[in-house]
């Protein structure tokens, strides 16, 4: 494990302007995630963890402060460049799987590779390989609606891995699964972490911290070491 940071957050503040006043979702948040870590981000709803997740995922911009992904400062990037960063360096796993319903499992895994311009010849090969690693290569030609929740989440893990990202952002990946299937999914995440992938897991389930290497707590928009 190197000491290189996958993500570095420097005093990030996020303020939402609402009709009458302003709402401070994040206040002077600073944190670092090293390459190879499996970090759990915990906090109650309203703690600001979704906001932090969106900023780390390049879906949103901080009001002030900087985010460095792979030592690259994201603050000055255009929308198009942010989209490129999302495609190449971030792998999203959602609570509701969010597979494209009109595409089969294989095509869903291929999709991020299309967006970043991977040549046609290599991407299907890679997608199939990833599905095999997730143990669902036999379901490659099935539509998401034909798969179980656990299978869909495994397809989305494969999709998150497709462009070999710097970090995987998993937002309550077990939230829509029964505990047994959830455990299975966590085992897969644990497996890819052991293979060297950096993972940030957003959850409010303390039981999941047994898979992770470190836990960051978020409370009222501020980072703390304890719940």
């Amino acid at each position: 494990m190197t000491d290189e940071y996958a993500i570095e957050v420097r005093s990030v503040t996020k303020v939402y302007q609402s009709g009458k006043g302003e709402f401070r979702a994040l206040h002077n948040v600073s944190l670092q995630i090293k390459k190879g870590e499996f970090v759990a981000l915990m906090g109650r709803s309203g703690s600001g963890k979704s906001t932090l997740m969106n900023i780390l995922g390049c879906l949103d911009r901080p009001s002030s402060g900087d985010v460095l992904l792979d030592r690259e400062n994201l603050s000055r990037l255009t929308d198009g460049q942010l989209a490129e960063v999302r495609g190449k360096k971030i792998g999203f796993i959602f609570q509701t799987f969010n597979l494209v319903p009109t595409l089969n499992a294989l095509k869903n895994v291929v999709l991020p590779m299309i967006f970043v311009g991977v040549p046609k010849a290599s991407r299907e090969h890679r997608a199939l390989e990833l599905l095999r690693r997730m143990g669902i290569e036999n379901w490659a030609t099935h539509l998401p609606s034909e798969l179980s929740g656990g299978q869909q989440q495994r397809v989305s893990i494969a999709r998150a891995l497709s462009n070999n990202p710097t970090i995987i952002l998993a937002d309550e990946p077990t939230g829509n699964l029964d505990s047994k299937t959830g455990e299975k999914v966590m085992e897969f995440l644990s497996m890819i972490n052991k293979e060297g992938k950096t993972i940030l897991l957003v959850t409010h389930d303390p039981l999941l911290t047994r898979y992770t290497t470190r836990t960051i707590y978020l409370k009222d928009g501020e980072v703390s070491d304890r719940p």
Partner: protein, 435 residues
């Protein structure tokens, strides 16, 4: 990359078959109806043009009426005299002239047996000279030409059937015609001329039902004191002239008009308010173009309206699709899709619907057009042109197929722009939260 996005658009359309089909239907009905109307219009155009070819390109019909647009011949004024005919015949670019006096009958009768008569109300005869057959390009199919001063007439093949097909008239039969004055005259049929062009729209002007000599049938005399002495003068309704060749029609027309407006008898006898009116092939073609331009306007109006309706249908469905797929759009943005790609994804879908709708509309319109032409064709036959060998042809307007297909594509793109922009401009955070 673009082909991948295109394939994804196709996948999206395929996964919502019923919705895609219904949206397509809007475009198909639009372009289909345009093709049907355009096919019918084009076929009629060709048909009408063929019909007009029966009119001798060197022919000039001269009458009195109003030189409005289009000019009208009144057919009631009788102004042209034999002297005028002689003078016009002598003009340099004129090959021949035939005067025509139009006679209306009260009835036409035929003796069928002892005190038994077949009667037909109404009827017209053109009193003229044998020259008329040449000018109108009519050929005798049986018998011979009439003689001036004798009760002899020529009838058309169509007229030969006037008492029904069972009692068709032939050379040697005798008709009795009752004039407006009540006088009944004998009319022996000496010849029958072809009426293949009777279905011609101009047949009233180019194929008379019956032709006879001026004496004894034409009795429009009136007093004239030209030269101090009261004389009886015969005057005709219209003149049929033929120019020496096609190129000289205009020159001939100028010459005739110059003469008529000068010291002609016609100029003295005609009502001051009326003009001399000429009908030539050129004039007829202008009339056709006029009629057809209305047809074209009609097609264009249908095209515009139906394409707008189809476009609104596409836009409507695309808005619904974009709203419905909001979360999917957010997901795609999260996994690296740029706004341009989201835009393309939806634009391709609407473009595909537009293009496919246009193409299918052309196919359905082509078969619908063939069907309409069949019905119209039967109708034209039933209108009583059964002697005509000409039937309504099916001529596809190729340019409209191209226009319809391209318009379908364009309308698809246009209708898709705003929904696709809406999709591309979404905030991924908000889109991902969408239920």
């Amino acid at each position: 990359m673009i082909s991948d996005i295109f394939t994804m658009s196709l996948d999206a359309l395929r996964s919502r078959k019923i919705r895609t089909f219904l949206t397509l239907l809007g475009v198909i009905i639009g372009t289909g109806s345009v093709i049907i109307v355009a096919t019918a219009g084009n076929s009629l155009k060709v048909y009408i043009k063929e019909q007009w070819n029966f009119f001798d390109p060197t022919g000039i019909i001269i009458g009195v009426g109003t030189n409005s647009k289009p000019p009208q011949i009144t057919f009631t004024e009788k102004v042209f005299t034999d002297a005028d005919v002689k003078k016009i015949e002598g003009l340099p670019h004129i090959k021949g002239v035939a005067p025509v006096g139009i006679i209306a009958f009260k009835k036409v009768m035929m003796k069928e047996g002892f005190l038994k008569w077949q009667t037909k109300q109404g009827g017209t005869m053109w009193a003229s000279t044998p020259e008329l057959l040449k000018v109108l390009d009519l050929k005798l199919v049986s018998g011979e030409i009439f003689h001036e001063g004798k009760n002899e007439v020529l009838i058309s093949e169509g007229t030969a059937q006037m008492f029904g097909k069972d009692t068709s008239l032939s050379v040697g039969d005798t008709l009795y015609v009752q004039q407006i004055t009540g006088r009944i005259l004998k009319a022996k049929i000496v010849g029958i001329y072809n009426s293949s062009s009777e279905s011609n729209i101009l047949s009233k002007l180019t194929v008379p039902a019956m032709i006879g000599p001026v004496d004894p049938y034409y009795t429009t005399f009136f007093g004239s004191n030209v030269g101090g002495l009261l004389r009886k003068v015969t005057a005709y309704t219209i003149l049929y002239a033929a120019a020496v060749d096609t190129e000289s029609v205009n020159k001939a027309q100028v010459e005739i008009l110059e003469y008529l407006n000068g010291a002609s008898d016609a100029n003295k006898y005609k009502d001051e308010k009326t003009d001399f009116v000429f009908i030539t092939q050129e004039y007829i073609q202008e009339r056709i173009e006029q009629i057809l331009s209305v047809v074209n306007m009609f097609i264009t109006a249908i095209a515009v309206v139906s394409l707008i309706v189809g476009g609104i249908g596409i836009a409507n469905i695309m808005f619904a699709t974009v709203t419905e797929r909001t979360r999917e759009i957010g997901t795609m943005m999260a996994i690296g899709a740029k706004r341009r790609i989201i835009m393309q994804l939806f634009l391709y879908q609407s473009a595909i619907i537009g293009l496919l709708g246009g193409i299918l509309g052309c196919i359905i319109g082509a078969s619908g057009g063939a069907f309409i032409i069949q019905i119209l064709g039967n109708y034209v036959q039933e209108l009583g042109f059964s002697t005509s060998s000409a039937h309504l042809p099916l001529i596809y307007p190729m340019e409209w197929f191209v226009i319809a297909t391209i318009s379908g594509l364009l309308i698809g793109i246009l209708a898709g722009v705003i929904p696709a922009r809406k999709a591309a401009k979404m905030d991924p955070v908000v889109a991902l939260r969408h239920e």
